[in-house]
């Protein structure tokens, strides 16, 4: 085994754990906060049952604004906020804060888009049967859009695996950070190749899992 690689092996395991932690936290907050936000974006939209042009415009503006920040800027700009929430501004948990802030509006948009694929008539039939808004969300929208939602989460996971590399800037660690510190700054090409290969495998695995699950869930 090349010398460089055996030297960084212990650090590699830690990096994988850090990447996993950052992704898990960011994706969880995206699902828990961005998901409902996306549903709200959809329901308050034109022609939907809770149509609220003002609220919809405000939500849309908010989502667009956060999404327009280059991630590296968001990362730095949020440092005080991160410190308040995570108690520190360095480490993977701290890096998960700006990652989450970026992931929430991203996922909200993806959810809104997936829900638009649900045929109007199906929602209308549920209204005609006397379903409440909440029942329509849970029993109709989420159910009918579920394979699209799984694919949306897959896209998000892949994007944020790559975003998490930037988290090295605030000491977040992770696989991408390892690639930058050893592969790039120290010209250890073998480390660079290894980490990039690892990321490729990870992305392929995430995408494969997402596609498989989405296909299983889709009965259309």
């Amino acid at each position: 085994m090349p010398e460089n690689i055996s030297a960084i092996l212990p650090e590699l395991w830690i990096s994988i754990g850090q990447t996993g932690l950052m992704l898990a936290l960011a994706l969880s907050s995206a699902v828990l906060i961005g998901g409902p936000l996306g549903v709200l974006l959809f329901l308050t939209g034109r022609g939907q049952s809770l149509e609220q042009p003002a609220a919809n415009a405000l939500l849309g503006w908010l989502v667009n604004t956060v999404r327009s920040f280059p991630f590296i800027i968001l990362l730095v700009a949020l440092v005080p906020f991160t410190r308040a929430i995570a108690g520190s501004s360095i480490g993977p948990v701290a890096a998960a804060v700006p990652l989450s802030i970026a992931a929430i509006p991203y996922f909200a948009r993806l959810v809104e888009q997936s829900l638009r694929e649900v045929p109007r008539g199906v929602i209308e039939a549920a209204h005609a049967m006397g379903a409440s808004e909440l029942q329509i969300v849970v029993r109709v929208l989420l159910r009918e859009a579920r394979s699209g939602l799984v694919l949306a989460l897959t896209v998000l996971a892949v994007s944020f695996l790559s975003y998490s590399a930037v988290a090295g800037v605030v000491g977040g660690g992770g696989i991408g950070d390892l690639a930058i510190r050893y592969g790039y700054y120290r010209f250890q090409t073998d480390v660079m190749v290894l980490t990039v290969a690892l990321l490729i495998v990870l992305v392929q695995a995430i995408q494969f899992a997402g596609n498989t699950l989405a296909r299983r869930l889709d009965k259309r």
Binding site: P119, G121, V122, E124, A125, A126, H127, A128, M129, G130, A131, S132, Q135, R139, V140, R143, E144, R146, S147, L217, D218, K219, R220
Partner: protein
């Protein structure tokens, strides 16, 4: 002739009363008046057809009955209650008594046939798991699809999908079934089987049927009364057994008469 032999049987009570309904939609180049001042009553147990060319306002009129569309003016009375005056939750309760089926079936694609039919029972709580299962089986048997409970809609033909939709609409024991072009996406033979199911439901369970269609044979095969709509108005109201008294072009076409009223 004996004057007292012909006693009119008592008419069944009115189930649906529409009073001076109006509905328009914002469209390019001004408002589109889909329904203009329609007053109509439909009695319990009737099979009532609403016929008209596309754009005549017949689907809008049907959707006004369960307030899927809110009227701009006028009111809808169902079983003696004014629907527009009900709270949101009271209207949701009332909608259990008003089943509806659609041209495109509108089934949940990611739910099995069983879960589709169970939908209206589950959203209105109050039923135990056993009651739901029993009622779903019953409804699937009524439409002749007892063996399809575990299939998904994508595995069914158009006619089967519509029958699942009928079973779903029946699950909460409605007193009326609103049918919005239920056979327009089906071929002639499948249409026949869906109409048979509808007639059967009317006969066996006394469910009132209101059916919107542009297909004249459907009216002739199924309905007892028919309203002819043109440009948002009901221009003619006929018992189907007396179609030959029709005066409007569409009414006369329905009766198989020449389009123009002959000048006597």
């Amino acid at each position: 002739m004996n004057k007292v032999t012909q006693i009119e049987p008592a008419l069944p009570p009115v189930l649906i009363r529409l009073e001076s309904l109006r509905k328009s939609f914002a469209a390019k180049g001004g408002d589109f008046h889909a329904v203009r001042d329609v007053t109509l009553q439909i009695r319990e147990g009737d099979i009532f057809g609403i016929i008209g060319r596309s754009g005549a306002g017949k689907s809008t009129l049907l959707r006004l009955i369960n307030l899927l569309e809110r009227p701009d003016a006028g009111s809808v009375w169902f079983a003696g209650r004014k629907l527009g005056a009900l709270s949101r939750s009271a209207l949701r309760e009332e909608r259990q008594s008003i089943g509806m089926i659609f041209q495109q079936f509108n089934l949940l694609a990611n739910a099995s046939v069983f879960d589709n039919v169970a939908f209206p029972l589950r959203i209105h709580g109050r039923h135990t798991r056993g009651e739901v299962t029993e009622r779903v089986r019953e409804c699937l048997a009524i439409v002749g699809l007892a063996d399809k409970a575990d299939s998904y809609p994508a595995q069914l033909s158009g006619g089967q999908k519509q029958r699942v939709a009928i079973a779903r609409a029946l699950a909460s024991r409605p007193s009326v079934l609103l049918c919005d072009e239920p056979t327009s996406a089906l071929d002639a033979e499948t249409t026949r089987s869906v109409l048979d199911v509808l007639a059967d439901i009317n006969r066996r369970f006394g469910v009132t049927i209101v059916i919107v269609t542009h297909e004249l044979p459907v009216v002739r095969a199924l309905c007892r009364h028919v309203a002819v709509m043109e440009e948002g108005r009901v221009v003619e109201l006929l018992p189907v057994h007396a179609l030959d008294t029709a005066n409007t072009t569409l009414g006369r076409e329905l009766a198989g008469l020449p389009a123009e009223v002959a000048n006597a």
